[in-house]
Symmetry: D3
Subunit: 314 residues, 6 copies
């Protein structure tokens, strides 16, 4: 990482945290690889998340390596920018194949994948690769939506059906999974049944507000078991803090709640994470959504280092 | 309502919640009519609320019919988009006459009016129609300002004088009315006296913060009595959540507080509501203000269905 | 069309030109149907054109019915807003099937289709329907790009391959087709050969600038023959005039040149047109791209009325 | 004027051209008074021009005093910022009375009024004051619209009826007046008759494009006779150059054409001018519309100094 | 202050709170002088704070003089707008000399300085002037960053080194100073030592959240002693509320917390304050950052009046 | 260069034209090095050009390698992204030293420097390096301003004094230099003398408009002699086409004129160029200024390849 007291943050090619740009992980053998998945076609409202990885890279130039809250130091950790998956616009299933292949190649080298979406459909392809290595994993989903619908417009894959298919395909273990941040309307009372039947423990915003973020964070750590993957949908956060997203939902998490929740991942066996649905065309002039996403990525990286997963230093 | 799992939300003519566009209420005989009042000329700072109804329509395409928090289902409720009042730019009093006539025609058909402003001056004309049918009503005002001034620039009607005139004209009963969310400066200590003398119970932000939203919501339900009209000024919400408004006032409600307060209307005798001062030219690129306004309208519709008013199903 | 001297332009549900919102063309039997195709997934750079139809509807509320330059009066012409094709995000080929079906159903009623995209890939599906009725048509393509590439990312359909496939599938007759407005870089000199081999007469910007818009307009009318379809890609226009598009290319047409070129379609046998690649997330705050697109649509409608095609009154 | 080589342009209170802020003209006795008319309620589409005067003030901090094209030097000319007329939002006719009174008070002191609107309705009130002093004047109208309609929404005053009323009230002499820049649709062929009957010579964009800006400028100088007032509607310019306006019309003047046309006012008997319809909420992030309006104001001031009117130095 | 019920807020030259524009303080002898410091060159990320003073002036036209929470009335207090310091772009040290000279001249007249930055580097120059008059002062720093680094890019002065130099130069007394609002990453654990060694008591966001804003406010009042200067960095606030700033840091104060903290300054011996790092090019369309900054300035002015400092009326 | 038909343009780390990111030129030995100079502190109005290099990199992902107008193919030319100069915010002269050192190191390797500013002050440092190698060069300046002033705010270096100092220091030969695009006001008639005395041939916009772009381009080629450096200030272009710049000046070049002028550099002995004053915070949502700047850079690279300079293939 370039020293921001020597070279200003606004200077130079914006790789993630101004880390080396590396295609060949085997030779570089880093601890962590940042990987972009710029696909946004399977969205039900606003596209734009294809520019999410680049926006997070730009915002990440503001990050510093030491976390005073968790006392985690990323300085001795080697991070590289592993570029993006070459997606195929307009072809969801072909794109999924390319995502799965690329994530698998990262996992084969035992490098921790820190993934930036893309819309939430892409997480299914990521989980296929993860489950291939680890078997069904515990899923931590911070999200305004359950993504448990079965199909959209007569087709199976969409950013609203990811978790349904992940369960169906045996990629995650619902009984050790948890979802936090849901809110807004549903299509009918049958959706509530669907949520209950899926077997994932979930905490909508109203319950989170009543219990407090600390209790929910504790519950998260109790719930997960074994290899754990965290999928962070930026729309879990209120649009005031994260306007740049595809399906905004008012009444969400504050930035402080979001960052605190991510810190709750410390001590788990974190094997990877993705942060999805950052849609820069709808962000504000300051890029606040991308800036928050970069900070959230930083907190998740610290949690990975403080976990017993492949990036763990415990 | 068009099925968003068949036809994407971004497709088609944006009526409110993609409901039928209906001019003739008598024939359609719906439960609820969405009606726009695109007037913004009686504003003391920023205009633009004339585009509020269209922005709320666009954002409402994101809404789903079932509310899992209140377990209210709008699917069996018939909602129509009753278009807008044909206002007269630059002529406040002529515009008021047209608003009053149109709202009266809705009330005559016993359809519940869900109104989208326009600036807050227009509420006076709405209340004239409402009081004509119901007599003086209880007013629930969620607002950053009292709107109790007597005149502006030597003329009586303005978005800052609405409630004063509503009391003067006997349209509302102050002794069963309540105002929540006030903050910011006043012209002098005499304004405090004016607020006290008006007879409306009020809870400025500082008091709301100390007591908590639950207690204030309980107080709201205790205070109102008989036919109740809710006037929701989006500027009650902090500009972080609702930048697109005419006279922004920092230090306001969060989106969660705002939505919770509106849910407090359940169980009252709600006879109508308006949501005013959404000024799209000042909104962010994501339309966050309009999105929140659409969600607030949804919560108010749920409360109307859960009330003993004309849309009530209790 | 609602009288804008009675009801302000900013009021009411924004259908195209505030015309009736009609699903059933057979009963309504209008002269012209405005139809949206909100698909933007087959784009190589910026998405967002799915919101093009709605943006053009909003901007079209500014249009008046009489064209003093061409002395064309749309008042006696019946126009309806035929809503949008229900596309399938992330599934290009399934979407194409739905577009083709819907356009065919319009053509079957002998109504003139005025189509708003959507990205330029969708024109292929439109042309399939058109050619099914008329056989190979003359194509007038006003565009910054040739769209003659054969594939992108290993898949055949993309907004850069439309015209190649239209020729391959026999939907258009290159020998009576013309392309105007091309500029910017190519992948190599072989692209020039590809352009020449395709058989479409073409006028890049530099040639247009040297010859003048009048001469090119005359050439357009000489070139086309029989049923003619016009495909207007807004990126033909310079980004200063039309920033809201997916693949902007500096050095393009001015608004006056663009509108004049469209007027050149008068006197042809115009059987339909589409205006594509309006991407509102990248438009300016004033919606200048959509406003220009609405004016261009108006000019094309006037040309349709002044043509010997199905909307022709000559 | 503050020296921009001593105090940066971005520093200090933004009066017009950083000139003194003067309420009392009689004592100050300047050559030219800049006066704002922040009224925008009589608009048929987008409001916002009430912030026009402030935006022009801000942009004017970029101006320098010497015009190398016309060799006009404003350094020896005393200019003051005479603040704004205290308008009454929502009350057009009361506002007109205040505008007329304030402009009359300027004219009484023989100071040249350089006026910044506001919407185009306000020009009627300005012309009442001007005609009171000078009798019917020659009008130079650079505008996308004729503003010759008789009423809107059943009321007489609107930004679309100004010139009609100016003729009716005998404030201008059509036979020595000229209009340049018109384009876009009309309500019907009867509007063409209305334009012809009004007696003002006019040059729509298409004619201007065919004849060239020089010829039209020459014609302007030939046409006007005696005291001349110029009303510059920023919407004469294409939205690419001036997006921040209330009723944008594609296909307009370029900035070079606009500035050249204004220079054509040199040598006339210019007694005042206004520049209207700058609506900052719709301007771009750079304030391009306001920047162009400031440059246009500068050119008009140079023309005033090079005229035989009250600011003339010839 | 101009009466906003007579002259609309959007009218006229935007001085701070529409107060008189005064260069000569000695003659005017006001209680409070608003002074801009439009320098933003010593910033490590985004510039733009040079336009902060103008943006705060514009937003301040919304302020009213009476504070109902603290019962403070600014009506009898004389406030003037003392324009801006003529800074030198690109020359930090020369600019510091000009700032120090101008602030000293204000302090010599015993007028209370209410300063609007500029980036946070400028506070060093302000403190030099303040300490010259009062000796080492108590510093209240509300800020996302400590600004305790020793140099940037090999040069001493930067917006990240201000407090370090203020201590080194003996301008502030760390033992009676306090910092609130810090968060985000550091360069390493040595930065924590640096913070501890500096001797300023500090409350990062996580601690503030756990203790509550009231307790921290109480602690502030206990900590400071004697002449107190408050430096309010708008980046203490979360980017959701204040996106328009140079180095945004997610997870910050809400607007209500920020305003409450400023109210805690009541009862101290406040001798001046500055509000820095408002960068309008990154603000939202509504100017929310500037609006909050204006409200914060109002609260700080009320605290100054309720203090035993030079503006105090106790 | 990555194949955009294999990997979408929106994917991956955005180096210039997606070329290799290379710090060590000696080993790589490319034909052309893209180099950023992110300094914007010596600006008299709006900062932001420090983000110019990154914005041009992002926009350059749209470029293709073959120029059909000039028949220039960049495919066989090796281009690298040489990152940015590590500037020192707030310290102009220290920054100049770093720029000069870095450009000298590029020139030493005989690589052609393609430089992206930064404000126009930085060109002085670049020219120092260029003249050190080549002696006084011919300067082609396309610019809205002469940059011939001697000092600003009492200091010598500023974006308005660059050419004055370049002449004074003997870095350029005025008698073989040319300036195109000037317009707008000056401080007084003495500025015209200054321009004449400087000895650079110049063509203000009005003269360019009268003569036509072809003639001026021809004159450019006649005027220059020997090693030639082109400095392209994006503010030469009209703000409609390039709003994102520090000191916008209405009435400028169109994009077509700008690109054509740059093509006129073919056949000269081009030894380097810079493109300055792209200020992304003021650009539009589409990044039109950066997109035009990327196209202009492409045209200048083609001219370099078609020149007898170090990148020349003739």
């Amino acid at each position: 990482m370039i020293d921001p007291q020597e070279v200003p943050r606004f200077a130079g090619v914006p790789t993630f945290m101004r880390s080396p740009h590396v295609y060949d992980l085997e030779t570089a053998s880093p601890d962590i690889a940042f990987l972009g998945v710029p696909y946004d076609d399977a969205t039900s409202f606003r596209p734009g998340a294809r520019f999410g990885p680049r926006a997070i890279r730009l915002a990440s130039t503001l990050l510093k390596p030491y976390n005073p809250v968790t006392e985690t130091d990323l300085s001795p950790v080697t991070i590289v920018d592993h570029d993006d998956v070459p997606v195929v616009p307009g072809y969801t299933e072909e794109t999924f194949a390319r995502i799965e292949a690329r994530v698998s190649s990262v996992l084969e080298t035992d490098v921790f994948p820190a993934i930036a979406g893309g819309d939430h459909s892409t997480t299914l392809a990521v989980l296929r690769a993860v489950a291939e290595k680890y078997g069904p994993v515990s899923l931590v989903q911070i999200d305004a939506h359950s993504d448990l619908w079965t199909e959209y417009f007569g087709e199976p894959y969409s950013h609203g059906t990811t978790v349904h298919h992940a369960i169906e395909e045996g990629l995650i273990d619902p009984s050790s999974s948890i979802r936090i941040g849901e809110r807004g309307g549903l299509y009918g009372p049958e959706d509530v049944d669907r949520h209950d039947d899926a077997g994932i423990e979930y905490y909508p915003i109203d319950e989170l507000e009543d219990r407090g973020i600390e209790e929910i964070g504790d519950r998260l750590r109790e719930r997960v078991d074994g290899p754990t993957f965290a999928t962070l949908d930026i729309d879990a956060v209120d649009p005031a803090y994260a306007p740049g997203t595809g399906t905004p939902s008012p009444g969400g998490l504050t930035s402080r709640e979001f960052l605190r929740l991510i810190r709750s991942l410390r001590g788990t066996t974190l094997v990877g994470f993705d942060l999805v649905e950052v849609a820069p065309p709808y962000d504000d002039a300051a890029g606040s959504t991308a800036t928050l996403a970069a900070s959230a990525t930083f907190e998740a990286l610290c949690a990975a280092v403080d976990s017993s997963g492949p990036a763990g230093r415990q």
